[in-house]
């Protein structure tokens, strides 16, 4: 994250799709990649951006979520998770982790190009972001436990010296689970060989 914080778009996407630890007890799940893709399409068609969903005087296009197939109360709940997000962001930031969304310039073009609508809406990582476009051995894509890996002894010097970037489409404290490796593998294919 830059010192100034997330872009408004990334903030909105993080609210919609991110995991902060309380999801097990929440009334609604965060948006999945296909769900977010549908919403992004609908926004795009209206000439709107994700940040517009958080607009001060109500979402810019009230009927839009239903058009994209997402329940209105689910969107409202997800967008209201700011405190949970701030608590997580503060911890990740202290640990040196950053968050990129598809709306950010630094989001690897190779991922967008190869995965298209399946490109994860959010990428969490540690280390120099520029390495994501370089690819190869400089990037290590994780299926989970990003936070743990970032404080691990083996990675520390690489991260500190800017030779290594860790990245994951899964939230930093989420462990590896059944589906994560296949998603991870597809990201690896795209990132490790960005051509």
């Amino acid at each position: 994250m830059s010192a100034e914080g997330l872009s408004d778009d990334t903030e909105a996407i993080l609210l919609l799709c991110g995991r902060f630890g309380g999801e097990g007890q929440a009334p609604f799940e965060p948006l999945s990649t296909p769900e977010y893709a549908a919403l992004a399409r609908a926004l795009n068609q209206r000439g709107l951006r994700p940040a517009d969903l958080l607009a001060a005087d109500g979402p810019a296009a009230p009927g839009l979520p239903q058009e994209a197939g997402v329940a209105l109360d689910r969107i409202a709940f997800l967008l209201g998770r700011g405190t949970a997000m701030a608590l997580s962001l503060e911890r990740w930031s202290r640990a040196g982790l950053w968050v990129l969304s598809r709306a950010d310039a630094a989001y690897p073009a190779a991922l967008k190009r190869r995965l298209k609508h399946d490109a994860p809406p959010l990428l969490y990582g540690a280390g120099r972001q520029a390495l994501l476009d370089v690819g190869g051995r400089a990037v290590s894509v994780l299926a989970g436990d990003l936070l743990k890996a970032s404080v691990g002894r083996l990675n520390r010097s690489g991260l500190q010296q800017g030779r290594l970037a860790l990245v994951s489409p899964f939230a930093p404290e989420v462990g590896v689970h059944a589906d994560s490796t296949s998603v991870r593998d597809r990201c690896i294919d795209a990132l490790v060989d960005p051509s």
Partner: protein
Amino acid sequence: MVVEAEALHCLRVAMGQADAQFRAGQWAAIDPIVNRRGKVLCVQRTGWGKSMVYFVAARLMRAQGAGVTLIVSPLLSLMRNQIDAAQRLGLRALTVNSTNRDEWAGVRDELLAGSVDLLLISPERLANDEFVAGTLQAVADRIGLLVIDEAHCISDWGHDFRPDYRRVGQVLARLPANIAVLATTATANRRVAQDVAAQLGTGVVVQRGPLLRESLALQNLRLPGAADRLAWLADRIPQLPGSGIVYTLTTRDADRVADWLQQQGIDARAYHAGKPDDERQALEQALLGNDLKCLVATTALGMGYDKPDLHFVIHYQTPGNVVAYYQQVGRAGRAIPAAVGVLLSGDEEEDINAYFRDAAFPPQGQVDRILGALEAADDGLSVRALERAVNLRQSQIEKVLKLLVVEPDSPVLRLDGAWYRTAHPFRLDQERIAHLTRQREQEWAQMKQYQAGERCLMQFLADALDDAGTQPCGRCAVCLGRPVLPVEIDRARLIDAQRFTRHSEMPLELKKQWDIEALPQYVAEHGWSKQNIAQRLRGEAGRVLSRWGEPVWGQLVARGRAQGRFDDELVDAAADLVRHRWPEAAQASWVTCIPSMRQPALVPDFAKRLADALGVPFRPALVKTRETQPQREMDNRFHQCLNLDGAYVVDDQHGIAGPVLLVDDLVDSAWTLTLASALLRQAGAGAVHPFALAVVSAK
């Protein structure tokens, strides 16, 4: 959109008064919160009604379908009147703090079920990663309004900057625009208010009212000696109407002053962080209900405590800065026509305040050692493991970690119960530390200016708080040209006070658990096992005569060490203690002491004279077998035990049966006395009563 009339109706319900009106600024604070999810900083004195603002706002937001209000406050629980107001509004408030850990799961469940409207947590909770991940995150997605009490603690420029609050500030800075924030404080000058507002974000509404109290009459009084101040307090307090607070700088002084006042027939009770939370709450209630005359308190009786009829606030010693002083004295006289604030000044406060300044930041060396240990570790380290790796006290390790973990680019992180080194390179920000230390020194200089009393005392405080346009108060000792309270001290009382300062003994508790892995020689010799020291090997509850350097005895001890011989006055004081105030030790049939290779005569000579005074034999039953490092350089249990392993043996040639008085000159953590007691008991001695002339650890 909520209009003022609706909010006013809420206020009336909350206060239980059909004709209540908003104070100036209350609606101006509620409006942006409720209608725009805005961020507001309220700088208003205690009693203005900051809690009404957040209760009404919480009620209105609930009606709009918004979620829970999170209140971050150092208070242990809502004040009685706040609970009543919340109840009248139909708001359910629950607290989560260190005293009700067993209730956390239940609170979380209730929050999830939607039956709780207000959650009160302490800043320590919010700064605790395990609490946030395990309990708070389960409900954080539903929090629509954050209320931060005592928000001046977020600011580096504030008089009371706290690491836990730094974390709070960093969380607030990351909130999106649709989460409302209300920050409140009663003590912030312009610069502090600006700093807090900047940390809250952009577009923050800042509101400020006059902070001073017209009913307060201030006075300064210099009485260098502790006995003089004690006597003055005992003379004056019974003559004051109503109840009040006496503030001290240390917990030890809080206990001592309370003891003294009680002995003088005044219903005074000590209040400090060493007391359990339920006792603290009971004491707070007692003062509120005027069930006692005064609380003798440290800064632990702080923030947020609001008693409308507090008649006096007296400081036994001068605190480090004017704003902190105001925060404490400003509690008096809220809803009564007249109240008194007296600042006493004595010899010891210079050193105490210097100690607080020096101890605020750890030395670079300590930080480097801790980071080095974490870097070298294969995995995370617990604090216990860090104690082994680094020769530092557990409390010091935790203090360093606490400071490091709230750095924005933190070099350490807590994960799954252990500490890790992050990839952030780290240098202690020496410039920042130097700046903060300089600031504290300037604040102390300003405090001394206040003490000098060259102009209206109230105006001086007003300037320090940027309270604009105050006139001379006409009530303080400077405006009046004479004291508010008499300065004379009763002669007989002074003699009593002097005697009291001579009866300065404290309990001396030996350790109950050792680090058995650090005592291989003794284990081999005596077969000791287990972390808990066996009952048969334990010494009794002991006594220590004084605190190093403290008047009267502590000063004599320091002199005795320097000269190589302890004054006879100390022998008399010790004998007096044993004979008249320590019946168990009076049963001792012999005296022994801890030997030293460095100063072989000092303690045995004292112990022999003490034995003579008590009419029992002195036997040098403990022998030192090897040189040890000074115990005070060993900073944690592991290293202290290791240092002493096999260092002493018992020589029983002159007999060791019967209860014994075990004497040493200085005690710090009591490891030497603990081990010596175990050795004597192992060898067949009777009950061991440990005694030391002075204790050296700071408190």
